[in-house]
């Protein structure tokens, strides 16, 4: 008698059993909290008690009338866009350098990847020291080079502090973008580049008319991830400026933390965090479209 199919042969059963824990984890601890985040934003919940009352749009009304929030919203956009512009330029340039062979490349690559490997909070504390109001090595160097006559209070002036935040975010993300662009470069069919050379295109024409257009999808991916990493990051701003001076450098995550956790107003904290959603939805849509385009092969 031939053995029949048993449970051990059923792909659907085995597949279900093996997927269930992950699915449960994702639904219970990502899906539910995600919904809860939105529900909380319409409530007057506080950290001190478990009371949970409906507050309607009161939280939203409150934060939209709050200049600190509006400033944080603007800062988030400025920091995200500013740092990503910097990242694109740096990563494209760095990829051009690192595709070439040169002596000491292994070491150079090791150093290039350090910012991405190190914990954000530790990098941020190092930068805090670098931007220190009294001991800033940047100020010393600028002064020694004769470029600076006054004094830069990096983390003490709103505009400079934002610039410092942008620099740190770009510093942290461009190695990652470089690796992506490098992978994209190495996957451009060599024949196309060679054809361009045979056709008499110089370095710049080759870069701008052949390689960059082919790299566009890859660069887009790098930027999309960069946007998520920057817009939702709490560590850099929290450690560098703590939102100061005078709440001028808050971004949405730090403000949400200040109101929701430190200030114990869960409802308002959640409402502030929900304003990150538009950023994320745009990114998710862009990614889906990109993925679909890659699949269709258009």
């Amino acid at each position: 008698m031939t053995p029949r199919r048993t449970l051990a042969d059923r792909e659907d059963v085995l597949g279900g059993v093996m997927l269930t824990p992950a699915l449960a984890y994702v639904i219970l601890l990502v899906g539910v909290p995600f919904v809860l985040a939105i529900v909380l934003s319409f409530s007057d919940a506080t950290a001190g008690s478990l009371r949970f009352g409906w507050a309607g749009v009161r939280n939203y009304a409150a934060i939209l009338a709050d200049p600190i929030f509006l400033r944080a919203l603007r800062n988030t956009a400025v920091v995200t866009i500013g740092s990503q512009l910097l990242v694109v330029v740096l990563a494209t340039a760095a990829a051009q350098v690192f595709r070439a062979t040169f002596r000491g490349k292994r070491f150079a690559r090791f150093v290039l990847l350090l910012p991405w490997a190190v914990p954000v909070s530790l990098a941020a504390i190092a930068w805090t020291w670098i931007f220190d109001s009294t001991f800033s090595v940047i100020n010393w160097t600028l002064k020694a080079a004769g470029l600076l006559h006054g004094w830069l209070y990096w983390l003490g002036e709103p505009a400079l502090a934002l610039l410092a935040i942008i620099i740190v975010q770009a510093w942290r993300i461009f190695p990652f973008a470089t690796v992506i662009v490098l992978a994209g470069l190495s996957s451009i069919p060599q024949e196309i580049v060679e054809a361009a050379i045979v056709d008499g295109a110089g370095f710049w024409r080759r870069l701008f008319q052949v390689e960059l257009p082919l790299l566009l999808p890859v660069v887009t991916v790098a930027v999309l991830f960069g946007v998520v990493y920057t817009a939702t990051d709490l560590g850099v701003v929290y450690i560098l400026t703590g939102g100061g001076p005078a709440n001028t450098t808050h971004v949405l995550p730090t403000l949400a933390f200040q109101r929701g956790i430190l200030g114990a107003d869960l409802g308002q904290g959640a409402a502030i965090a929900v304003f990150l959603l538009p950023f994320l939805i745009v990114v998710a849509f862009a990614m889906l479209r990109l993925a679909r385009r890659a699949e269709v092969g258009a």
């Binding site: 824990p21 990098a123 941020a124 020694a144 190495s186 999808p217 939702t232 869960l266």
Partner: protein
């Protein structure tokens, strides 16, 4: 001339990327007298050791702070989260790649997107959840919550990895007399080892780096992890012990950077859902081909193993002869 420009550019990037680490290094071993000289004093060069180096800050860090404790805490959390992630994500990734049929790809994509939901959106509800469970201010809260970041990504990672591993070995085992379950238990684990290694490294680096949840859930100093304790609790009152701080940053960064670099050199091919094409019989799609050959994943690592290894990602099974035909040709099965 061109070489000079190249080296200059390379140097520029190295300086920009590495300068904070050089600064950590210098600060760690400088005497306080050498360290705390105002930057307006142009006669004192901060870039070099003006006084002999000292181990004073390192001794302080290891002897008089909670840093060793934080390292232990971090390792404990890392170990627990690695175990949970491997136990949950590896079977799930296998299921999506091999057993779920046509739904696998879509479901994998869905799971991957939950990875994009950032901690900063979830920490508010989590703070309530954690206090409901009575886990506030405990390492258990981190062990419970960190897998929400690692499981989605690692599930998708294992799925992508398995797509690049040919089916035939497992099918062969089924023909050779084993049930599907026996294949999963006896044959598949050996094939997934490189994927599991990636999961471990990713989980390790992610836990080491995490800051937001730790900041939200942990309040007492002796429960902190390294990435939280160093920037938050090494500051005594208003006094920053910069030497010890930079020593802590340096000693944490070095092992991570080494792991990272080893990993990049060894890592097998992975498929990023957004940088690879789905179908492989499209000879005129240049851009598509460009995606397909190089593969990247959000860790920022990429590698290519032979010119063809990255191409099979898109299709699971099915599609008739064309598929199987292509499949065979593109894989050299017998690589170690």
């Amino acid at each position: 001339m061109k070489r000079v420009a190249l080296y200059a550019a390379a140097l520029g990037f190295v300086v920009f990327a590495g300068f904070p680490f050089y600064w950590m290094l210098v600060t760690t071993f400088k005497q306080n007298r050498d360290l705390y000289v105002g930057a307006s004093d142009l006669s004192h060069i901060p870039w070099i050791f003006n006084d002999p180096p000292t181990l004073e800050h390192v001794k302080l860090l290891f002897g008089q702070t909670d840093f060793p404790r934080w390292v232990l805490n971090t390792l404990l959390v890392v170990a627990a989260v690695v175990v949970i992630t491997v136990a949950v994500a590896v079977p799930a990734g296998y299921s999506l790649a091999r057993l779920a049929g046509r739904w696998g790809e879509r479901m994998g994509m869905g799971i991957f997107f939950t990875y994009l939901i950032p901690p900063t959106l979830l920490f508010v509800p989590f703070s309530r959840l954690v206090s409901l469970l009575g886990l506030q201010n405990s390492l258990a809260s981190l062990i419970l919550i960190y897998p929400t970041m690692t499981i989605p990504f690692c599930t998708w990672l294992v799925m992508g990895f398995l797509r690049s591993v040919p089916w035939e070995i497992e099918e062969q085992a089924m023909i050779d007399g084993y049930s599907r379950l026996a294949v999963i238990l006896k044959v598949a684990p050996r094939l997934i080892v490189p994927g599991i290694l990636t999961v471990v490294v990713f989980t390790f680096t992610l836990v080491m780096q995490e800051f937001v949840y730790a900041l939200t859930f942990i309040s007492s100093v002796e429960k902190m992890t390294v990435s939280l304790g160093v920037p938050i609790a090494l500051v005594r009152g208003d006094v920053y012990h910069w030497g010890a701080l930079m020593a802590a940053a340096l000693f944490t960064s070095i092992p991570l950077a080494v792991v990272y670099n080893l990993f990049i050199d060894r890592e097998p091919t992975f498929h990023h859902p957004f940088t690879r094409g789905g179908c492989h019989e499209n000879p005129n799609g240049i851009v598509l081909r460009a995606h397909r050959r190089g593969s990247v994943h959000p860790l920022g690592c990429s590698s290519r193993r032979g010119p063809a290894a990255g191409r099979t990602g898109g299709q699971a099974r099915g599609g008739g002869d064309a598929h199987h035909y292509g499949f065979h040709k593109r894989h050299s099965l017998h690589q170690p």
